[in-house]
């Protein structure tokens, strides 16, 4: 069914001078969508034209609405010769296609030209009238929401998490078409930009269709990438996690009116009288009243369970059989899926049961061997193969799912390395399937989850371990076995108990490779890969030990292929998990004894290492409580490498080789210095300088151990390219250069951001590429967030304190609760939160647990809730001051007075999924932009640095402008997915391609919210109380 797209061109400003004679411009605008073009009048002789055009109306299929971008071209009218293009604006109208997001796009957009950059701005208004869709719109998927955020977006609740969706489209790269020889660089760039825009639209639509098939309504953790394969084509591929999301009514808390759906849903709750502590209610359909377009053929009801009881099960002893049962459950839930993968890195409470470890797979492919390059089949098969491998690895670890899953490629000429990695995990089936789960299982599960160390417990069978490992009893609950080191690709679960602070740990590695052609090259690369992985892993392990920590989160290993070398860069955030055993030290052993001076040297090194470990422990405040051996119940095992990366490399020939990285029986923490290589390793270990005081860094969403963020944030991108001296390159020299590059880059960042101290660099994302023979390019995007130092001093908290803190967090959430009570009369509530609310509220307000057990009728429960709310909310005002929780978007606000910029609204950008000190109230849609910039006057533009600096600033500006036009004031989960830079200084030319994405949102400062919410509870309580009375 068609829709009507309406566009109005209002005005322009700051246009460039196009007529040298008059120093003015005669500008007009072409508006193009699909194959239809409209033009405005020519506005003569002005750099600030006021077109004020009529509404240009395009009547188009919604399929086109999803695929095509709106293309606005500003031109200079020329009577005698061809009109000169000033620049273009591409507007993705996708955010207008779902009901809850933006309703209008209106604002100033930078006019962008691929040769000249931004040339003035244009004011545009865009609207879409979608006719109500009555058919099953099989070709379009309007209404499916997309989120880049890799967790459940803040103002939504996951009803079901369906699972993995992927899609891949291929097209011929316009840069390699024959026509490119005769057209201008501008035309070629624009063709490319337009093509990628079209392809991403198509991709999104196709993924949307898959989601609808799965009966979901959203894609979370949507990651879209493009591969420039060169001759063989241009690939745009995307992965994501299909979910059914339900909008929480709480963000509407400051819009005091009750939501309209409440009336229609009056009769919907099917309430069963609660049996002992266990109650099942009916969940209401998702967005009933408003989601007219989407939900007509589509409503999901999910019976869920609520627990108010205090069951006293014994988890430990029954652990074994229970685990099996759980596995069966999960298995059945997951086996329907081809790939039980999730791109999420943070999960709703209770979702993650156990974590096995990192699984990864790589494969080297030759692009010129694709039989049918224009069709996606071959690439689909490649990825399917890798995913299959990941799946089998996960199975070997006793896990049925992979979380924190991501895919990447590295291309050099005709060789392509495909990589996939994730964390094998056991998940709670509750979120995965529509059916009811048996009560008893559910209950056990809850108990298991109630401990904060659950996710550390091994998922595999102790007697049937997939690799040699040594286990200990969990240091937290002492009932289950845990490994001694844990590597994961996900974020640290919010309820995990961490001692001290975390830190960024990187392993960097270069390997020279002979230049070769085709298969020989591919073979050489696949032969090198295992060694690289091994070394990266060893480095990570050693550095982790050196920091005195025992777990890695957010691990991302990137392997980049170049003409004559391979680069490996692994980044992760190290933490000390209280549940895992204390890591052992590092011992150095020499191979040649009986040499006095040598031994002396070794002992010297040993001392240095020990000193570093001690220093790091102090720096990161790692001081775990002393535990006597008796309590643990089993002798403390020798420290031994436990975690394992399962991976394999397969060449085009599909030959799979498994590599065991567990070092066999050898103690992993003894470094043997038997040759210069090893010496280098030890040295490089010690060269990593800790960040200056007041600085912390991590590559996860939040820094473990810091929870008092203030509202100042600074997102940045830094790019460095170094040229290696081509003379006698050795692996060592290469390693050193690469190491220095990364270290210097970090140092530079610390220096630049020194005014923000104390602050933490979060989500530090390093990307390495090898654009040419001797060039190494490193791109870093991160966000610096300030925090309150005074509070930071008390961060080492015992679990008890932590849980108290959490309780008060939940209390804050209670603020939202009253409204739900009155608005939808207590039927559809996210159950896990309810449980927490009740528990925490009662623990705080002093209602004895027994009372909750006794409450045998639903009405009584309401009363009780109203009571707890009243108490809870009073309490909240106090606790807000005391605690500042992390992960719920509730942060202390110490913001400076808001910048009142009259003309240009401030748009914040952050790679994180939240904004400190603020609450996200609305998601406006996905931002996915691709830009090409080219210059033929490189020197005049300030050389390569000047060129790229200006370009990145322009990209930021365009992202901000689009967000502002959607009515948003921030971009969250921002990511620069690609930054391909090519230069030719001899020809004075350079070209750069940048692909960025993120979620446009509206946020409200917590200080503004507090004013409203502090008034809210009283009124709501009253209303809910009266309601309660009426029912009685």
């Amino acid at each position: 069914m068609p829709g009507k797209l309406k566009v109005k061109i209002v005005a322009g400003r700051h246009l460039p001078v196009m007529d040298r004679a008059s120093d003015l411009t005669d500008a007009f605008v072409e508006v193009k969508f699909g194959n239809t073009t409209f033009k405005t009048d020519v506005y003569l002789k002005s750099l600030n034209p006021q077109w004020n055009s009529e509404w240009f109306k395009f009547e188009v299929d919604d399929e086109d609405l999803q695929d095509e971008p709106l293309q606005i071209t500003v031109l200079d009218h020329d009577t005698y010769s061809a009109n000169d293009a000033i620049g273009k604006v591409y507007i993705d109208i996708d955010p207008l296609l779902y009901s809850e997001a933006a309703t209008v796009i209106s604002g100033w957009f930078p006019i962008y030209d691929t040769i000249h950059g931004i040339r003035g701005e244009i004011n545009v208004v865009v609207k879409v009238d979608l006719f109500n869709d009555l058919n099953r719109f099989r070709q379009s998927s309007c209404g499916v929401k997309f989120f880049c955020t890799t967790s459940i977006p803040k103002c939504y609740r996951a009803v079901i998490i369906h699972g993995f969706v992927e899609e891949l489209v291929v097209n011929e790269d316009p840069e390699y078409q024959w026509i490119d020889r005769i057209r201008t660089p501008r035309a070629s760039n624009e063709a490319r930009q337009r093509l990628i825009s079209l392809m991403s639209g198509e991709l999104q639509r196709k993924i949307g269709l898959k989601v609808l098939e799965m009966r979901g309504n959203a894609v979370v953790g949507y990651l879209q990438c493009f591969d420039l394969e060169g001759e063989s084509g241009l690939v745009v591929r995307a992965i994501g996690t299909a979910c059914t999301l339900d909008k929480l009514s709480s963000p509407a808390a400051f819009l005091p009116a009750c939501n309209s759906p409440s009336k229609e849903m009056k009769e919907s709750p099917l309430v069963h009288p609660p049996s002992h502590g266990c109650r099942s209610t009916h969940n209401s359909p998702i967005h009933t009243a408003t989601g007219s377009r989407l939900t007509q053929n589509f409503s999901v009801s999910v019976p869920t369970l609520i627990y108010t009881g205090m069951g006293s099960g014994s988890a430990g002893k029954e652990g074994g059989p229970f685990k099996a049962l759980l596995r069966q459950q999960t298995q059945s839930a997951l086996e329907q899926r081809e790939f039980p993968f999730f791109t999420l890195t943070a999960f709703p409470p209770g979702f993650l049961v156990h974590v096995g470890g990192v699984v990864s797979a790589r494969s080297v492919k030759l692009l010129d061997r694709i039989h049918n390059p224009d069709e996606p089949e071959t690439r689909d098969a490649w990825w399917a193969e890798i995913r299959q491998e990941i799946k089998s690895h996960a199975k070997a670890l006793g896990c049925h799912a992979v979380v924190g899953y991501s895919e990447s490629t590295s291309i050099c000429e005709e060789v392509c390395i495909l990589s996939a990695s994730g964390t094998a995990a056991v998940l709670n089936p509750r979120f995965l399937q529509d059916g009811t789960v048996e009560g008893c299982l559910e209950q056990r599960l809850e108990e298991n989850l109630s401990t904060r160390c659950g996710f550390c417990h091994i998922p595999y069978d102790e007697l049937n371990m997939p690799f040699p490992a040594h286990l200990t009893y969990c240091y937290n609950c002492r009932k289950q076995k845990v490994p001694d080191v844990l590597f994961t690709t996900i974020d640290l679960p919010t309820d995990a108990t961490v001692i001290g602070k975390g830190c960024l740990i990187q392993a960097r590695l270069c390997r020279l490779k002979k230049k070769a052609q085709a298969e020989a090259n591919a073979t050489a690369i696949s032969n090198l890969l295992p060694f690289m992985e091994y070394e990266v892993h060893t480095q990570l392990m050693n550095k982790l030990k050196l920091k005195g920590m025992n777990a890695l989160f957010g691990l991302r290993i990137q392997i980049t292929v170049g003409e004559n070398m391979l680069m490996g860069l692994a980044s992760a955030t190290g933490v000390y998990l209280a549940a895992l055993p204390t890591p052992g030290g590092i011992q150095i052993a020499g191979k040649t004894p009986n040499d006095g001076s040598y031994e002396q040297h070794i002992s010297h090194m040993q001392k240095k290492i020990n000193d570093t470990i001690a220093k790091n422990k102090e720096l990161y405040e790692i001081n775990p409580p002393e535990i006597s051996e008796e309590i643990i119940g089993s002798p403390i095992p020798e420290p031994r490498q436990r975690s394992r990366l399962l991976r394999s490399q397969s060449e085009s020939s599909d030959e799979v080789t498994e590599l065991d990285l567990s070092h066999g029986k050898k103690d992993a923490f003894v470094l043997e210095i038997d040759d210069t290589d090893a010496m280098e390793d030890v040295h490089s270990l010690l060269t990593d300088v800790p960040p200056p005081s007041g600085f912390y860094s991590c590559n996860t969403e939040i820094m473990p151990g810091i929870n008092n963020w203030t509202s100042e944030i600074q997102m940045f991108t830094s790019v460095r390219v170094i040229r290696l001296s081509s003379l006698n390159l050795t692996n060592q020299a290469l390693n050193k250069n690469f190491n220095d590059l990364c270290e210097n880059l970090l140092k530079s960042l610390y220096f630049k951001l020194r005014s923000m101290i104390p602050c933490c660099l979060c989500h530090v994302n390093f990307t390495v590429s090898l654009p040419e023979d001797e060039l190494i390019q490193v791109t870093v995007t991160a966000v610096a967030i300030t925090f309150d130092k005074n509070q930071a001093l008390q961060t080492t908290k015992t679990p008890v304190e932590k849980s108290l803190q959490r309780a008060s967090t939940d209390n804050e959430e209670l603020l939202q609760f009253p409204l739900e009570l009155c608005s939808d009369s207590l039927h559809s509530h996210p159950f896990p939160p309810v449980k927490e609310h009740l528990e925490s509220a009662s623990s705080n307000s002093g209602i004895p647990a027994a009372q909750r057990d006794r409450c045998s009728s639903w009405i009584e429960l309401i009363k009780l809730k109203a009571q707890t709310i009243r108490r809870g909310s009073i309490k909240t005002t106090v606790t807000v001051e005391k605690a500042s929780p992390v992960g719920d978007g509730n942060f202390r606000n110490r913001s400076a007075p808001p910048c009142a910029n009259s003309t240009v609204g401030v748009v914040k950008m952050t790679p994180l999924s939240f904004i400190p000190g603020a609450k996200i109230t609305k998601y406006l849609g996905i931002i996915n932009m691709f830009f090409i910039r080219e210059t033929t006057s490189l020197r005049e533009e300030g050389g390569v640095s000047g060129f790229l600096h200006a370009f990145i600033a322009e990209v930021f500006a365009m992202v901000r402008a689009h967000v502002a036009a959607l009515g948003g004031n921030a971009v969250v989960s921002y990511i620069m997915k690609q930054c391909v830079f090519m230069e030719n200084p001899n020809k004075n030319q350079a070209q750069c391609l940048i692909n960025v994405s993120g979620d446009a949102v509206v946020f409200v400062r917590e200080s503004d919210l507090e004013v409203v919410s502090s008034q809210q509870p009283t009124t709501n309580c009253q209303s809910s109380c009266t309601e309660g009375e009426v029912t009685t």
């Binding site: 940045f716 003309t903 240009v904 640095s945 790229l948």
Partner: protein
């Protein structure tokens, strides 16, 4: 290993005030790095010289990109490329348009032309300000001049509106533009003791009282040009010195009023005719462009120097001039309007006769009363 490319782009553009100052002062990256090293920043932060180099380069690049926008400050407010908090924007603009006293003293009253620009090397060596910085300041003067040259309305308001400068800086620019437009000679050795502040004060009063804008704010003209008609009228002052009776009467009136109040009364009495003649002649000559240019030189020669040679204290000069203009009013047959004119002169002299700009402000307090009187006189002309 050589660095090919090294950039840092923040969502909020980072502005380092110290580096900005170094950039404005025209130091090259290498010099700026050396200066920063000397400031001890490395010890404070534990950074290396390479880090400092990269940081400085980065800031310089940013400033370079911002410079285009700073040429038209309202653009800086509306542009989308750099997200800068308003307070920082104001700082950028204010600092960019700030100038060195030593430099402005050199070019004050000169034509802002290419020729003058060529002489900037000499000024640079003379004042010790880098050529780059001289160029920036000169270009700023010229740009402001070009923009407000043909504009109606208050000069200061126009400058403030188009360059978003603070009140104080806008006033200074108004003075510079006014001097450049009228090409007042300020470079003579005799005038070297006067500071820019002194001239700026004079310029402000002249804009208020001598220009077309001052005569009638409804008029289509602006604050830049002197009111020709007014200058013509000044010729009639000659009667004050040409008519012997009038001169004597004037003298006696002044002397009676000031007897006992002046420390240098006898010198004043002896010199009255000379001084009066000097003042009136300066005023009467102003119809010629060349004499307008030499206004300050003449005033110093004809009035300030005689006073100085007699060691008049500042307060006495003020007393004398006030009384000198006040007495004129009571002279029969003298047109009232001239009193205002003379009065305006008086104020001009005061800062000139002192070395302290503070005295200028003391007088400023008394001006408003006189100002109204003068307008009143002109009205009845």
């Amino acid at each position: 290993m050589t660095s090919e490319l090294d950039i840092f782009v923040g969502n909020t553009t980072l502005i380092d005030e110290d580096v900005y100052r170094l950039w404005l002062d025209g130091y090259s990256v290498t010099d700026a790095v050396a200066l920063r090293v000397r400031s001890g920043i490395l010890e404070q932060t534990g950074a290396t010289a390479a880090v400092l180099q990269s940081d400085t380069m980065d800031h310089y690049r940013t400033f370079h990109m911002l410079e285009r926008l700073l040429h038209a400050p309202p653009k800086l407010l509306h542009q989308l490329i750099f997200q800068i908090p308003p307070s920082r924007q104001a700082l950028l603009i204010e600092r960019y348009y700030a100038f060195d006293e030593a430099f402005v003293r050199e070019v004050l009253g000169k034509k802002l032309s290419k020729g003058t620009k060529k002489d900037l090397d000499d000024i640079s060596t003379k004042t010790g300000i880098t050529l780059k910085s001289c160029r920036r300041q000169f270009d700023n003067f010229k740009r402001v001049f070009k923009v407000v040259e043909e504009m109606r309305g208050s000069l200061v308001d126009n400058i403030q509106q188009h360059f978003l400068l603070s009140d104080r800086l806008a006033r200074d620019y108004a003075a510079i533009v006014f001097f450049a437009n009228n090409r007042f000679e300020t470079g003579k050795k005799k005038l070297q003791y006067l500071s820019f502040g002194d001239f700026a004060f004079c310029a402000e009063l002249m804009i208020q009282n001598w220009t077309l804008g001052a005569v009638d704010s409804q008029m289509d003209d602006m604050d830049m040009d002197l009111d020709k008609e007014f200058l013509q009228d000044l010729k009639e002052l000659k009667v004050l010195v040409a008519d012997k009776d009038l001169l004597d009467l004037h003298k006696s009136l002044v002397c009676t009023a000031l007897r006992g109040k002046l420390g240098v009364f006898s010198e004043m009495e002896a010199n009255f005719k000379n001084l009066s003649r000097g003042l009136v002649n300066v005023a009467a000559k102003l119809t010629h462009n060349k004499d307008v240019r030499d206004l300050f030189v003449d005033l110093v020669e004809k009035f300030v120097e005689p006073c100085r040679s007699d060691h008049w204290p500042l307060s006495d000069v003020r007393f004398f001039l006030n009384q000198y203009s006040a007495s004129v009013h009571s002279l029969d047959g003298f047109r009232l309007e001239c009193g205002g004119t003379i009065w305006a002169h008086c104020n001009l002299h005061l800062p000139g006769s002192s070395n302290s700009p503070a005295s200028a402000f003391q007088v400023a307090g008394t001006t408003s009363v006189h100002h109204h009187a003068q307008q009143f006189f002109l009205y009845f002309q």
